[in-house]
């Protein structure tokens, strides 16, 4: 996985799973949900976000339910990583399990809206290309990074199981 370079979309604290994946769209396919991702806090986000962009937030990102759609919808929109001061536990786990790098960064607040950032999830390093700042994140260990690189837990397991059975 190379370094993701994109625009930062900045949000505050306590972004919940209902704001990410609104309940009324839970029954339908993910395509029906994507236009409404985060619309309650930023109506421009879903239409404006581009592949490689990065979501930046404050504390307790992804609080609320265990719904995996809160991660899938971001991946579907092409978000390359989420950088936050802290994550809700279930969201953090779901993110890595579904192949979305979630980076806890004490200095996430130094990234401003529309700053261009380069996120190196493997090294736990963020460069702010707009201000020249550089911030360290809590690293994701290699064995989990491998899962993220494979696209999440299911493709990762498929690879592992495939390798095992081809070894006989």
């Amino acid at each position: 996985m190379s370094v993701a370079t994109g625009r930062a979309w900045v949000f505050g604290d306590d972004i919940d799973t209902d704001v990410l994946a609104p309940g009324i769209y839970m029954k339908g396919p993910i395509e029906k949900m994507t236009p409404h991702c985060l619309e309650a806090v930023d109506p421009e986000f879903a239409a404006g976000v581009e592949a490689g962009d990065v979501v930046v937030a404050g504390r307790n990102f992804g609080m609320g339910s265990s719904r995996e759609q809160a991660v899938l919808v971001l991946r579907h929109l092409g978000v390359a990583a989420v950088v936050a001061r802290s994550f809700a536990g279930l969201f953090f786990r779901n993110a890595l399990n579904l192949g979305l790098p979630a980076l806890a960064c004490a200095e996430a607040g130094r990234i401003g809206a529309s700053h261009r950032v380069a996120v190196d999830a493997e090294a736990g390093d963020i460069q702010n290309l707009t201000t020249g700042g550089r911030y360290a994140c809590e690293g994701i260990p290699e064995h989990l990074m491998e899962m993220v690189r494979d696209g999440g837990l299911v493709p990762h397991m498929a690879k592992r199981l495939g390798a095992r059975s081809s070894r006989g």
């Binding site: 504390r59 802290s86 579904l98 260990p141 199981l161």
Partner: protein, 425 residues
């Protein structure tokens, strides 16, 4: 270095001498719990796509509790799929319509101190009452556990919440948790473990300790936990489990906590959380006289045998107000049997309560007892998010079974202590 109880359990499951908060480690799972809603129907397609089998049928426990009893063809199909998957995979421990997973699983002695357990439900921290490290996971992760028997965890810090003194008459674990939701906030625990301790906690029976750990979910905690003691061991033995050596599953006295909070149980007033968040809790006096259409005693949080006894203590010799419906959905069939045997059930029904099947029922809007537009309900459940218990415009207030029962008698939110004065605690 001194370690917390959670750190010791994770280290054991990870096969390491010790772990430190922030470490990400892979742990062997001792038990995986699923229910009908998030379980087989979601994991089966993933296992099929991987052409994989479950790693150890004996370490999987399934309970059908959300869609029970079936109310339409869709829910019947979900229950049917669950039964077939359990049979096809040779899962020996399956509790079909026996009650809510968080209550039924420990009723059968499955949760033991020191275990590392995952549950496919966000209230899985309930198991922490038994000295387990038990937490909720999403369906993808559960599928991973079923195939590999392991999962990863970022070792959380622990927050110690001590309750000194003794709860007054008409007060319960539910009041403690609603108070904490207000005081610490819905995300207040931020992925940490909330460990409960202190004289008031040690004085609580297991069912009440389960309520404390259950609602750690509402604090944004990774899980809740209580160090096992003689009460824990006795309870496990009574339910056919072997508690092992509880003394070996204690945190070190000088372990490092992220924070330590001290509260006095003796000064706590009954709490009520207003719509639409448990964090909207305040003393019952702040909401007194709010009229209710329905009073609901149900859910893993508020319908165990002790909860029914609390309601009965208030309802004895009283009647549910005209125009108000009091629904009681015991948390498990065993709860119903116990309450029938000791006369609790008769007290409730004589007061006008309507007995409902055991299961999640109206708690999350899956079963019977949901609300109409603009109705108000006071419930012993854990969450009052908008639209959770039926119509989006309905208002749900959360309270203890004592307070729910008192409110049913008056038809408006009431302080249960009015009905308990002079009675033995």
């Amino acid at each position: 270095m001194a370690r917390t109880l959670a750190e010791k359990i994770i280290a054991r499951a990870a096969g390491q001498d010790a772990v430190t908060p922030g470490d990400i480690v892979t742990c062997a799972v001792d038990l995986a719990m699923m229910h009908d809603s998030g379980g087989p129907r979601r994991v089966a397609p993933i296992l099929e796509s991987l052409q994989a089998k479950v790693w150890d049928a004996g370490k999987i426990v399934v309970a059908s509790d959300h869609y029970v009893p079936a109310v339409d063809a869709e829910s019947a199909a979900i229950l049917d799929l669950t039964r077939k998957w359990v049979a096809d995979n040779g899962i020996p421990n399956f509790y079909d319509m026996q009650g809510i997973c968080h209550v039924v699983v420990p009723e059968h002695g499955h949760l033991l101190p020191g275990m590392f357990v995952v549950g496919g439900d966000s209230h899985s921290p309930t198991g922490g009452a038994f000295g387990c490290f038990m937490f909720g996971v999403g369906a993808t992760e559960m599928a991973g556990v079923l195939v590999t028997g392991e999962t990863w965890i970022k070792v959380p810090e622990t927050i110690l919440v001590r309750w000194g003194g003794r709860l007054g008459r008409g007060l319960s674990a539910k009041d403690i948790m609603l108070f904490l939701c207000h005081r610490l906030g819905m995300g207040g625990a931020e992925y940490r473990v909330v460990q409960y301790a202190g004289d008031a906690v040690e004085g609580l029976p297991m069912a009440e300790r389960m309520t404390l750990c259950n609602m750690a979910a509402e604090l944004g905690a990774q899980t809740g936990i209580i160090a096992p003691d003689a009460v824990t061991a006795d309870h496990i033995r009574t339910n056919g489990g072997d508690p092992g050596d509880v003394a070996s599953w204690q945190g070190d006295a000088d372990a490092t906590f992220h924070a330590v909070h001290d509260f006095d149980a003796g000064t706590l007033a009954p709490q009520v959380a207003a719509p639409h968040s448990p964090a909207n809790a305040a003393a019952v006096g702040d909401y007194e006289n709010v009229a209710v259409n329905q009073a609901y005693i149900g859910a893993c949080t508020g319908a165990k045998a002790v909860d029914l006894c609390m309601a009965a203590a208030v309802l004895k010799g009283n009647r549910v107000a005209a125009g108000v419906r009091l629904l009681v959905a015991p948390a498990s069939t065993r709860t119903t049997a116990e309450a029938a045997a000791d006369g609790t059930l008769a007290t409730l029904t004589e007061a006008g309560a309507i007995l409902m099947p055991s299961g999640c029922g109206a708690c999350a809007g899956y079963g019977a007892g949901v609300l109409a537009e603009n109705e108000a309900c006071i419930a012993s459940t854990a969450r009052n998010f908008k639209g959770r218990m039926g119509a989006p415009s309905a208002d749900v207030y959360l309270a203890s079974p004592y307070t729910v029962a008192a409110s049913a008698i008056r038809g408006r939110i009431s302080d249960p202590r009015d009905f308990l004065e002079g009675r033995a605690p």
